[in-house]
Amino acid sequence: MNTILPANNEQDKITDFDVLVIGAGIAGEESSLKLADMGFRVLLIEKEPSIGGKMILLSKVFPTLDCAACITTPKVSETARHPNITLLTLTETESIVKEDNGLFSATLNKHPRYVIEKDCTGCQECERVCPVITEDQFQFNLVARKAVYIPFNIANPRIALIDIENCILCGLCEHKCPSACIDFSQKEEIIQVKVKSVIVATGFKLFDPALIPRYGYGKFKNVITSMQMERELAPTRPFNNILRPSDGKTPGKIAYIFCTGSRDQTCGNSICSQVCCMYSTKQAQLLMGALPMADITMYYINIRAFGKGFNEFYMQAQDMGAHYIKGKVASVSEKENGDLILRYEDIVTGKVTESEHDLVVLSVGLLANPAIIQVFKNTTLELDASNYIKQPDLMQSPAVTSIEGVFVAGTATAPMDIPDTIMSAGAAAAETSGYLKQLS
């Protein structure tokens, strides 16, 4: 059906846009804001219930140690409020068809929130009465959440949704809601739009370390991922302290295993993830601040401290006391008390050694997220050898893809850090604007 899309500041019915931006992480936001500032009408869609991507969930950023939430929330609210941006959350692309006139016809699927968006005040009364307890994906399963929930404290939009898979349809939330906005009758909404151009800003996936069984993730409770540590260190952290999962003890001897799922053909990812060395180094600095007595050991292959201020930041972590050991960890085993034994080859001494730690953090890599190519029905969005969106004119026009009128921004093209993502998204905005100007 043809649907009404209210723009942020107006109630016109719009089904035509200059550009469809897929993904509202920092790349999608940046491209959208630049194009919207230039006067183009942008439809920005996000499959998650909140925009902000991965960055909004981080603790601090390297090498400035700025609080990630503090610097990203203004951009998030600017995006949500821009008069030229129409934003749809919980929305996925079903198909994109290129028409003979060069326009794209996109079919979108807006999943039901089971909450009336405009009426929800974010009061969280529903959360309090919901009897269901399930894993909180936005805290990377460190803690639980309810079946009706606000994704996280600084989510945008900050309104509830119902996780219908886990909901037991008891109706308690419906009775409790003071603004009567729970609506179990909501259905998937199919939205047809016509757009002149598309920007793919679908980001990356995190490597699942269960694919490397010798590190014990999922089996040993005190082996966690770097994203879980990111949450433990974040201002909106689940505990108010750094804890290890098995017994809630404050860890005193923490190990980082670098290149988990990167530079490793055995798990299908030969390339370097570009950010893990630095985010691990950042976490080490934050941990040394939070737990002054803790020993922190970093098991690495090479340290990729290449960006502005990075090498200095790495030196600083060493000066603060982080212990860097060049050597790939072969395996992790667990003691009865939950402590862990790492077996590794120390390259500097040339010896195979074992060491004990009470918490192990796996510095998981970034993977390509190529599912989006399937929505292009009569054209082919090509991938490169590493499964990222192919950039056929890499050196001159990195935002151009194999389809004319479809552009790409951020980590959909390659692993990259925040400033590189912002610049890539700016380049995509420039390329798209040039394309739109030449159409008109």
Binding site: I26, D37, M38, G39, T64, C67, A69, C70, I71, T72, T73, P74, S77, R81, G122, N153, I154, N156, P157, R158, A234, P235, T236, S270, I271, Q274, I303, A305, F306, G307, K308, F310, N311, E312, K326, I347, V348, S386, Y388, L394, M395, Q396, S397, P398, A414, P415, M416, I418, P419, D420, M423, S424, G426, A427, A429, A430, E431, S433, G434, K437
Partner: protein, 568 residues
């Protein structure tokens, strides 16, 4: 005098509240004059907090607000937006910085941090109570950009801007365009030739009539501010003054030149830099001959001029050199027979997809040896042989000696000496002497000077792909500022009370921006402010002997109120 002030104290999710006792701050300021509403918030900048403030302003009819959170550099536009949306003049909002100035600066002393925060908030309340509504000036802007530097980045910025409908003046100080890349052979990771890339960009440039290129040119005069700069360009020909809206600095880098004796550079002919080596590879065909000798064994020494540790040296990593050297070494093996590559490195940094080149090189039987700064490779000559020795970290510190035909110093990037530009534009320069952006993470192409953007390697070392991305991002930013045709200027300008002015020359001397004029008031000469030149810097206010000048947004009444609150 404002009588219904709303005060918001932000926890910054612990960044502030871990050190500053928010409840104590609230208790201490709740009885300050004119405080009508007092709240604390987890993140004042979050969307929900912003909405709550808007509601408060409307329902409680607040006439001013104070937000005590982080640096005004971060969130002044955010909270000005809040006040505007709620119908309150944005200049009736005052930002107080209790993060950078209290919690972060005094994390070792929570009590002191709390006391300081209390005083700062009280001063902010005093300033808000004397605040006045101000209206931004709207001025017309020119949709034209001057790009300084026609290297690969400057060329790409120019093309992108032209395609978006912005006029471009591309100013290059050399006679030729293309910068370093014009001399390069095959580029990683695409294998296209540097000269071909530049030729292709040059062809695109010529197709666009709205790009004017000036070579052998430099800016000799610059006036004005964002949206409207007037510049004079000096070149061989007479050029009329140009009127533009913004600048993009794309001035590039210089190659590090090794010191004489650094790895025996300048002492032995067999020690050369990577740029010289690249040209040699490019120009040689069939046999690889250097100094009448056929080259078979090549040693590459990495991090020459980068990652140094002495005071005054380059502490940074130059980012592109590991990949560039490996790429070259692969080319050499493809082009010539019987080549052995020895890589003396400090940990290879082929980040991202560039890792595939390192893989390829390792599979090609290249030998990698790693050294630390306290044990750098030693280069010696025995007869006509060049010997290199290293304690190799990768073989448990074993000393390894090799006889080589050529030693290639993999030199890094250094910042260009741009004294004139830095002086002319007051460009911010970082500790590493590259230009500094306004915010490293989210605003990498903007500077603290409105209308002056930076792109490419003048900001920090980058490879070509990264240079292109940043150059196009700067183009997008410039176009998004200028395409609307108008811009709002800060109304925080100086104003003269003519009745009090005795027309001494103090303010004329103090003003750096020619913003003070003479006018006539009641048959006598008095000073007057030219608002299009005034930057609101405040230099004229304290020198006025009769207090005839006030700065809007920072009036004498406001400043005195703040001082009273601070010393109370």
């Amino acid at each position: 005098m404002k009588k219904k002030i709303g005060v918001y104290i932000c926890h910054c999710g612990g960044n502030i509240s871990d050190y500053v006792d928010i409840e104590k701050v609230k208790a201490a300021v709740k009885d300050e004059a004119h405080v009508y509403l007092l709240k604390n918030t987890m993140f004042a900048c979050s969307d929900s907090s912003q909405k709550e403030m808007e509601e408060d302003i409307k329902t409680s009819e607040l006439d001013a607000i104070v937000v005590a959170s982080c640096s005004p550099k971060l969130h002044v536009p955010t909270f000005r937006g809040v006040t505007s949306r709620a119908g309150l003049n944005p200049y009736n909002y005052v930002q107080v910085n209790i993060r950078e100035q209290s919690s972060w600066a005094h994390s070792d002393d929570p009590t002191g941090a709390t006391e300081k925060a209390i005083l700062l908030v009280k001063a902010g309340i005093a300033r808000a109570s004397e605040s006045q509504a101000l209206t931004s000036l709207k001025i017309a802007t020119t949709n034209a950009v001057a790009i300084i530097g026609a290297g690969v980045g400057g060329l790409r910025s120019a093309i992108a801007l032209a395609d978006m409908g912005t006029e471009v003046y591309l100013i290059e100080k050399e006679n030729n365009i293309g910068g370093h890349v014009a001399d390069y052979g095959a580029l990683f990771t695409s294998d296209i030739q540097g000269k071909e890339l530049i030729a292709s960009l040059q062809t695109e440039l010529k197709k666009r009539s709205c790009i004017k290129l000036f070579t052998h040119a430099e800016i000799i005069d610059k006036k004005g501010s964002i949206g409207n700069f007037d510049i004079k360009v000096q070149t061989g020909n007479e050029i009329p003054p140009l009127h533009i809206g913004a600048f993009i600095m794309n001035t590039g880098f210089d190659n590090y030149e090794p010191k004489e004796g650094e790895y025996s550079y300048g002492l032995f002919d067999s020690v050369i830099t990577i740029s010289r080596f690249n040209k040699l590879v490019d120009q040689s065909n069939g046999k690889f001959i250097y100094n009448d000798r056929e080259i078979h064994t090549i040693a590459y020494i990495y991090c020459v001029g980068s990652r140094q540790d002495l005071e005054g040296e380059n502490k940074y990593c130059s980012r592109y050199c590991c990949t560039a050297a490996i790429h070259t070494s692969i080319q050499v093996k493809k082009k010539f027979k019987n080549i052995t590559n020895l890589h003396y490195n400090r940990g290879i940094r082929t980040y991202g997809k560039q890792e595939l080149l390192y893989d390829e090189s390792s599979r090609n039987d290249d030998i990698y040896m790693q050294f630390s700064l306290d044990n750098i490779p030693q280069v010696k000559q025995k007869g006509n042989k060049t010997i290199i020795t290293v304690k190799d970290i990768l073989s448990a510190g074993k000393e390894i000696e090799a006889e080589v035909d050529l030693i290639v110093l993999v030199t890094g990037m250094i910042p260009r000496k741009n004294e004139n530009l830095v002086h002319q534009f007051k460009l911010p320069v970082g500790r590493d002497h590259f230009f500094n952006e306004i915010h490293m993470k989210l605003r990498p192409v903007e500077t603290v000077i409105d209308g002056v953007l930076i792109a490419g390697t003048c900001q920090s070392p980058k490879n070509i792909l990264e240079t292109i991305n940043s150059s196009m991002a700067a183009a997008a930013k410039a176009n998004s500022i200028l395409t609307k045709g108008e811009i709002s200027l800060e109304p925080t300008l100086a104003m003269v009370n003519p009745a009090a002015c005795l027309i001494c020359d103090q303010c004329f001397k103090a003003c750096q921006f020619d913003a003070i004029l003479e006018t006539v008031y009641e048959n006598r000469k008095v000073a007057k402010i030219n608002s299009s030149n005034c930057k609101g810097c405040g230099m004229c206010t304290p020198v006025c002997p009769t207090d005839a000048i006030d700065l809007a947004g920072f009036t004498n009444a406001q400043i005195e109120g703040m001082i009273d609150a601070l010393v109370d």
